[in-house]
């Protein structure tokens, strides 16, 4: 589903500030995989996500989603394959537009925008159905502007927007990190439900060790732009927070600071 082959990315190449963010990362996700990426600051997790999303174009290597080479495609040209929930709850939706308008954009993701009215009663009914499972009452506030929502509500909306078109891969970029623990837990729960119900393939970056243990069928640890350690299936289920912290302590002191 996702094939990342030996990608490299150096920022500010050729200057004194040159920094290698990705130093030959290869990663293959199968259909339905839910991979959790952990690693310290500067390990390259975000650059990896950005390279898959299209916000960063890799210097070398190849990225393919569902068999299609997207390595050099700009974000908007691969949006029909890849969706994303950002860390910043403000980033994933348009604050000055209403909930239904945001959903209208999301349901047409990657398709060409037509000169047809974006909102119809049929579509509104669909949006209500989409939002109801979150239990936040958003289904009754379709015409409210998104900037009026709380961080948790907004992140739930962003999640609904990211899954509605059944993307081939969904990127979760520390998407609960900016929320309070209770909200984070409910957004995380909604994420797992959405990913499982829709049989999506997911790649989630997190700093939350407990989340890394509890969720997903694969765990990927990055440091200095490389994949340091990978666990899946039985091995991943056997991991504990203590074991992970121990592992990090041995290999990457930076992780403990974050």
């Amino acid at each position: 589903m996702l094939e990342v082959t030996s990608i490299r990315k150096t920022f500010h190449a050729g200057t004194v500030n040159a920094r290698t963010a990705l130093d030959g990362v290869s990663l293959t996700l199968d259909d339905g995989d839910f991979a959790v990426v952990i690693g310290g600051n500067g390990a390259g997790k975000s650059t990896l996500l950005n390279a898959i999303a299209g916000e960063v174009i890799a210097d070398e290597g190849r990225i393919a989603v569902a068999g299609k080479d997207v390595t050099r495609l700009p974000t908007h040209r691969r949006a029909h394959l890849v969706s994303r929930v950002f860390q910043d709850p403000l980033a994933g939706s348009a604050g000055s537009m209403t909930i239904e308008e945001n959903l209208a954009l999301a349901t047409r993701r990657g398709q060409s925008a037509r000169l047809a009215f974006a909102l119809t009663e049929t579509r509104r009914a669909l949006y209500r159905e989409m939002l109801a499972p979150f239990g936040l009452g958003l289904e009754n506030r379709l015409d409210h502007k998104v900037e009026l929502l709380s961080g948790g509500q907004r992140q739930s909306l962003a999640l609904a927007m990211a899954v509605v078109t059944l993307p081939r891969i969904i990127l979760l970029d520390e998407h609960t990190a900016a929320l309070d623990p209770k909200t984070a837990a409910s957004v995380m729960q909604a994420t797992v439900r959405a990913v499982e119900e829709n049989r999506l393939t997911a790649l989630m970056v997190t700093h939350n060790m407990q989340h890394a243990i509890d969720f997903g069928n694969r765990l990927i640890m990055m440091t200095d732009g490389r994949i340091l350690f990978e666990a899946r299936g039985e091995e991943k289920r056997g991991l504990t927070v203590e074991a992970l912290v121990e592992r990090f302590h041995l290999t990457d002191d930076k992780m403990l600071l974050s």
């Binding site: 999303a53 299209g54 916000e55 700009p74 974000t75 908007h76 040209r77 949006a79 029909h80 969706s83 994303r84 950002f86 403000l90 980033a91 994933g92 939706s93 348009a94 604050g95 000055s96 537009m97 308008e101 209208a104 954009l105 999301a106 047409r108 993701r109 990657g110 398709q111 925008a113 037509r114 000169l115 047809a116 009215f117 974006a118 909102l119 927007m161």
Partner: protein, 300 residues
């Protein structure tokens, strides 16, 4: 005081006509600022461009409606130029506008072949559309008011389509827009072109109203248009799309009445720009008064 009323009431019809014509300009200034978070100065060049194109075409024998369409098209080109310079070179949008409006000064003289062009001897859009009552100011005002309201209605309908929503998403949140598969290039260019076209139509109508185009006719229109937008938003608000689109038109009408009053009260016309500038500054500085916080979102 009776002197003031006499002077002012004499001015009302003509300033009302100018106000509705400037409604097109204010619409064209609102779109970049509000819909696309693209603070843009191109209006200062696309307005006289519209005037120059209309005057030159009419003088060359084209009918006034075609001439106005030429102006619209030229304005769209000017707007696209600003947008494409910003997108290609990643320059600040204000700088891109200044470069384009500076170049347009020369282009406008080229278009007319001289710094100004009189079209008194030719039929204008009022003659063509109003026939016998083409000199009737009330009819002129109603005609232009109708035109600008139709333009606003078409815009409103467009902004509610999928294509229009994509454009608004670019103004609201570019990162999100990209992630939804929306091309920032396409939508920005389209939106700024549309805005340039509206400003040029205002220039074309003003030229036909005055039967005269001058390369300097754009001087100061940006700040006047911005003031009109701010006045309109204070009166009408911008909580819905309809209000956001009506605000520039209402604002332009009210603003030019206020100017006319100030002049009738004896304000020196040469002090007008200072007053307008101070007014715009005051409105931008007092978000509490206008109830807005993000008056000027600027792209990186």
């Amino acid at each position: 005081m009776s002197g003031f009323f006499a002077v002012y009431s004499n001015l009302v019809p003509i300033t009302l006509l100018q106000g509705v014509i400037y409604g097109f300009l204010a619409l064209g200034i609102m779109i970049p600022f509000r819909m696309l978070s693209f603070p843009d100065l191109t209006a200062e060049g696309s307005f006289p461009l519209g005037g120059a194109v209309a005057a030159a075409s009419i003088a060359a024998g084209w009918d006034p409606i075609t001439a106005t369409m030429f102006a619209l098209f030229a304005g769209c080109l000017a707007g696209s130029a600003t947008a494409l310079i910003h997108l290609t070179l990643r320059l600040n949008t204000l700088l891109c506008g200044i470069i384009v409006l500076t170049m347009l000064f020369s282009i406008n003289i080229r278009i007319m072949g001289k710094p100004n062009q009189a079209i008194f001897a030719f039929d204008n859009i009022f003659d063509v559309l109003l026939g016998g009552s083409s000199r009737d100011l009330t009819m002129q005002i109603l005609l232009i008011l109708g035109m600008v309201l139709v333009a606003a209605l078409l815009l409103l309908l467009f902004l509610k389509t999928e294509a229009g929503m994509a454009m608004r998403a670019v103004g609201a949140n570019q990162l999100m827009a990209r992630a939804q598969g929306i091309s920032i290039w396409k939508q920005t260019t389209l939106g700024i072109a549309l805005a340039g076209g509206l400003c040029a139509v205002a220039g074309a109508l003003m030229t036909q109203n005055q039967s005269f185009a001058d390369v300097n006719m754009g001087f100061g229109v940006l700040i006047n248009g911005l003031a009109a937008v701010i006045v309109g938003e204070t009166l009408v608000g911008r909580s819905t799309l309809t209000r956001q689109l009506l605000a520039p038109i209402v604002g332009a009408i009210v603003y030019y009445q206020a100017i006319s009053m100030a002049l009738a009260l004896g304000l020196n016309p040469s002090d007008l720009r200072l007053m307008t500038g101070l007014f715009v500054l005051a409105m931008l500085a007092l978000p509490g008064v206008t109830g807005r916080r993000e008056v000027m979102k600027i792209r990186e």
